[in-house]
């Protein structure tokens, strides 16, 4: 878990409305040396959320020109589920080239990484990370930060859904084994001790901590234990 990611948790935790999220995105882009972060969520018949750090002029232009359905980033994340590197998309069409050029003129960086996410009722969401940098510089930045991007995307998405009251109705309950894992950690056992007690490998133990963390919306183990205690998912 990176230090930056941990710093982000607190701020995300204290967000009380969707209006707080753009401020959070601004902090995030500074922490991660990015130019922009953009969140989009929508789907057939669903309310859209567009939260971004882009200059508002560019966003208005993009909307007014109806660029979305020609935008290789939007179109490719609609159909794929792997994170998308903008440099690997096909910008050769006339319209695509125009969108790219105007985006750069409008303050968007050349390098982007977009993470698609899907939810119930056909909801689609994505988080884009964007920076203007030399290719080699971007390559090493992406290498260092890509894991955080994946975690951040899901975390921001779940937070926005919770704040808009559109979080998927199913509460993600911990399985008994995940409760065992967090309980032993809350009692101060080391991972090795706890895994041995549960008669599972340390590798399996780590993965169960990670799945519990994901269910609880926690970005580290200490936080996961705390959330589980608050929700009374575990009792010590």
């Amino acid at each position: 878990m990176s230090h930056l990611l941990e710093e982000t948790i607190d701020q995300l935790q204290t967000s009380e409305s969707v209006d707080d999220i753009p401020v959070l995105l601004k902090t995030l882009r500074e922490n991660y040396d990015l130019d922009h972060i953009v969140y989009h969520s929508g789907g057939p018949g669903l309310k859209e959320q567009n939260l971004f750090t882009y200059p508002v002029e560019w966003v208005m232009h993009y909307i007014n020109e109806g660029y979305r359905n020609h935008d290789p980033v939007y179109m490719s994340t609609q159909r794929s589920w792997l994170p998308v590197e903008w440099s690997r998309l096909n910008w050769s069409g006339k319209m695509e080239h125009r969108i790219l050029k105007e985006a750069l003129d409008g303050g968007v960086g050349l390098n982007g990484y977009s993470i698609p996410m899907r939810g119930a009722a056909g909801r689609f969401a994505m988080l884009s990370f964007n920076v203007n940098a030399k290719p080699a510089q971007w390559e090493s930045q992406l290498e260092a930060q890509k894991r955080d991007y994946l975690l951040l995307s899901h975390y921001v998405h779940e937070k926005v859904q919770a704040l808009t009251g559109e979080e998927e109705a199913t509460i993600k309950e911990l399985s008994p084994r995940e409760r065992d894992v967090l309980t032993l950690l809350s009692l101060g056992k080391s991972r090795a001790q706890a895994a041995e007690q549960l008669k599972i490998s340390e590798h399996t133990f780590r993965v169960y901590v990670d799945t519990a963390r994901h269910k609880l919306g926690a970005l580290n183990t200490t936080h996961a234990v705390a959330v589980a205690l608050i929700q009374r998912a575990i009792v010590i």
Binding site: R79, S80, W81, L82, P83, E85, W86, S87, R88, L89, N90, W91, S92, H97, L100, K101, L104, G109, L110, N111, M117, R118, N132, A133, K134, P135, W138, K146, R147, Y149, L150, L151, S153, H154, S175, P176, R177, E178, I200, S201, H203, T204, V207, Y208, D210, T211, R213, H214, K215
Partner: protein, 210 residues
Amino acid sequence: MIRFIYADQLTSEPALASSMFNDRRRQFKERLNWDITVGDDGQERDEYDDMNPLYIIWQRPNGLHGGSMRVLPTVGRTMVNEHFAHLSDGVAIASPLIWECTRFCISPDAEDGRKVAGALMLAGCELGLRFGLTDSVGVFDNRMIRIYRNIGWEPTVTGTEGTGKDAISVGLWPITPECRASIADKTGFEVTAARDWFEASFPSQMPLAA
């Protein structure tokens, strides 16, 4: 060579696609006798093939399928979580940092099955490293364990059902540069081979410079 290809791109590769689904019938239905459905066309597909998975496919020199596996994110629906959760202590393995790899299949027609198996595993590890994953989860016939060991990338088994040749397990593969090096070492591929396959499937084509 290895190709990374989404399900919705397979329509433009009908020969490759049909040879893959035929080979899956031959392996999973005819050889391993798994409880799975085969269509009237002789092809083995299931509901997860409809979720636009990414396939990692070894394409033979004649253009047909030599081996493959199917990759899906575990934050969506997966075979392991919907059908085999009892083999992972009842824990649904769902995390943005874990993907599911299933239907690991080698064609009986492949020129060198061992090489194909190694290439697929190297490509899977590369994919995970490239996107910052921690683990891959999969369900497999226990006879595969020996093959995984020979390839240099063994899973941690979380649970097994059945005995002897009918045993099926769920396992976790850690995704680390060391695992990639181990696979390359055991299979004779350059450690950079999978990077080249990925670049060929998803080429850089940015027309402007920063």
